[in-house]
């Protein structure tokens, strides 16, 4: 029983990060109908900027803020400079461009920072509280949960309650009609990219201290897990991304805890197939799928 509680809490704290990162993927998918394979590399770039700032100033939080802002700007830049000019008639084109960006960003990071792992600082202690002899969550885990919850709530609020959120949703669903109603669709698209990339940067800032450290490829594996999470949840659904992230986090934890770490990739594939064969649009897909 102790082991189960332990694995559950561990899986949830992982899953929270996957959820945030999956949310970033969903944001861009909803806004631009692009699966942003460059999300991981972009987020790592933001984390490197945070690292530079934090080392230069000695302030983790300054670096944290700069990473989020940097993520926002990078997202806007990628949209304005690259993605906007991609021919979207074939869904493959943006995917390939994103893969090209991955190569480019990782290579540039490798050239600037070298391929060594850099230590990623955690702003709170990672030592777990002990309750009844059982190590539960650490202050850092609580920070991760808190940050992810804040982001999820903030995004939900922006999209559901604010004018700009309404504009963004309208622009994503019906670009031409939205333009006729005075919505700056191009601007909303850029904003969507910026927001998603900012959330991605946050996820990277949260997850890298729990991983091997800062490295151009630091988010590769997180990307695979989070993409799985987003697909399981349904790419059109932000709540689906959150639930999917938690499911994937728990699955990975249980499988490596009870069955062996080498079975985790297989478990992920089984989960994907099981979910998608029953619901080809993910768990949270609308029942009557829209024909586009």
């Amino acid at each position: 029983m102790d082991r189960f509680v332990f694995l559950t809490l561990d899986g949830l704290s992982r899953g929270a990060v996957y959820a945030a990162f999956a949310l970033a993927l969903v944001l861009i998918w909803r806004a631009a109908r692009v699966v942003n394979f460059a999300q991981g590399a972009m987020a790592v770039a933001a984390a490197y900027v945070a690292y530079s700032v934090a080392t230069a100033t000695g302030s983790y939080w300054l670096g944290f803020v700069v990473a989020l802002v940097g993520g926002l700007l990078l997202g806007a830049l990628v949209d304005r400079a690259v993605m906007r000019h991609v021919d979207h008639t074939s869904p493959l084109n943006p995917v390939i461009v994103a893969l090209g960006l991955v190569l480019l960003i990782q290579a540039v990071l490798g050239m600037v920072y070298g391929s060594e792992f850099r230590p990623a600082e955690a702003p709170f202690s990672r030592g777990a509280f002990t309750v009844g002899g059982l190590a539960v969550l650490s202050p850092y885990d609580l920070f991760v949960f808190g940050a992810v919850t804040v982001v999820v709530c903030a995004l939900a609020w922006i999209f559901a309650r604010t004018a700009v959120g309404l504009r963004m949703r309208a622009a994503a669903f019906a670009p031409e009609v939205s333009r006729l109603l005075g919505v700056n669709v191009g601007g909303m698209l850029t904003l969507g990219w910026a927001l998603a990339s900012g959330v991605g940067a946050l996820a990277a800032m949260l997850v890298i201290p729990t991983e091997l450290g800062l490295h151009p490829h630091a988010m590769d594996l997180v990307f695979v897990s989070s993409f799985t999470a987003a697909v399981v949840g349904g790419l059109d659904s932000p709540p689906g991304a959150v639930v999917g992230g938690l499911i994937v986090g728990l699955l990975l934890s249980y499988v490596s805890g009870y069955a062996g770490s080498d079975l985790t990739p297989l478990a992920v594939l089984v989960l994907l197939l099981a979910v998608l064969l029953v619901r080809p649009g993910g768990l949270f897909a609308p029942v009557a799928a829209r024909r586009v």
């Binding site: 504009r167 009609v177 333009r179 109603l181």
Partner: protein, 241 residues
């Protein structure tokens, strides 16, 4: 030629999708506070004309003026600020948004928030079925409700000029009649100018002040709607009844 009270002036406009233009030098004038109906057979270029006026399609030549101002280079999304509203064919209701959100979207661009709110209330009064279905998603509405929603959403922006593309498409005659009556009522009460594109020539001409007959991308006749209704030759030649 363009007098002070001509709200919309279209001069020698050439537009289309590929190398071959759909519109060949179209001329059109709509005086303020009137309803103009553009009629013609399928493929005459009616929808293309509306899309060109609202800027979705860039004209290859010619000019379009709204209240004396040239619209060249004005982005589509700025046209609502100039007082133009375009209800596209197929009604353009955003199915993933609720009725309320669809309506709010129509007034989001406005600086005068309180008047936008007032306009919203007025639309709900005007289209009472919408008020009952505020929280429903767009794709859950019936055809008539969708048309009301699209029209109402345009009205939230308090436009001077309303471009309406096939408002009667797929609707029961009773609903069409209601919508046509409403347009006339709006013209009379608020001075709204309407440019209406219709296949349903009878009901369009019944409500319009002015009729514009298009064929193969050209305007063949512009005349008072009543005259057109009675001109048998013209009807036979272009309108098929």
């Amino acid at each position: 030629m363009s007098e002070g009270d001509d709200l919309l002036v279209v001069r020698e406009v050439v537009a289309g999708y590929g190398a071959a233009p759909v519109l060949h030098a179209v001329d059109l004038t709509v005086p303020a506070g009137t309803i103009a109906a553009v009629v013609g057979a399928n493929g005459a270029g009616k929808t293309t004309l509306l899309r060109t006026i609202s800027g979705v399609l860039r004209p290859q030549a010619g000019r379009i003026e709204l209240a004396g101002e040239d619209l060249r280079g004005v982005p589509v999304e700025r046209l609502v600020h100039r007082g133009m509203a375009h209800v596209p064919e197929g009604r353009g209701v955003i199915g993933e948004l609720t009725v309320d959100e669809n309506l709010r979207l129509g007034g989001l661009w406005r600086r005068d928030r309180s008047d936008a709110a007032r306009a919203l209330d007025e639309v709900y009064q005007l289209f009472e079925p919408l008020a009952r279905r505020r929280r429903h998603l767009g794709h859950q509405l019936s055809g008539g409700e969708r048309q009301m929603l699209a029209l109402g959403r345009a009205l939230v922006g308090r436009p001077r000029l309303l471009l309406l593309d096939e408002p009667s498409l797929g609707l029961a005659p009773r609903v069409v009649a209601r919508i046509m009556a409403l347009l006339r009522q709006l013209r009379d009460s608020t001075g709204l100018t309407v440019l209406l594109v219709e296949q349903n020539v009878r009901s369009a001409l019944s409500v319009a002040d002015q009729g514009v007959v298009m064929s193969l991308g050209r305007v063949v006749t512009t005349a008072p709607a009543a005259d057109l209704r009675d001109d048998v030759d013209l009807r036979h030649a272009y309108l098929g009844f």
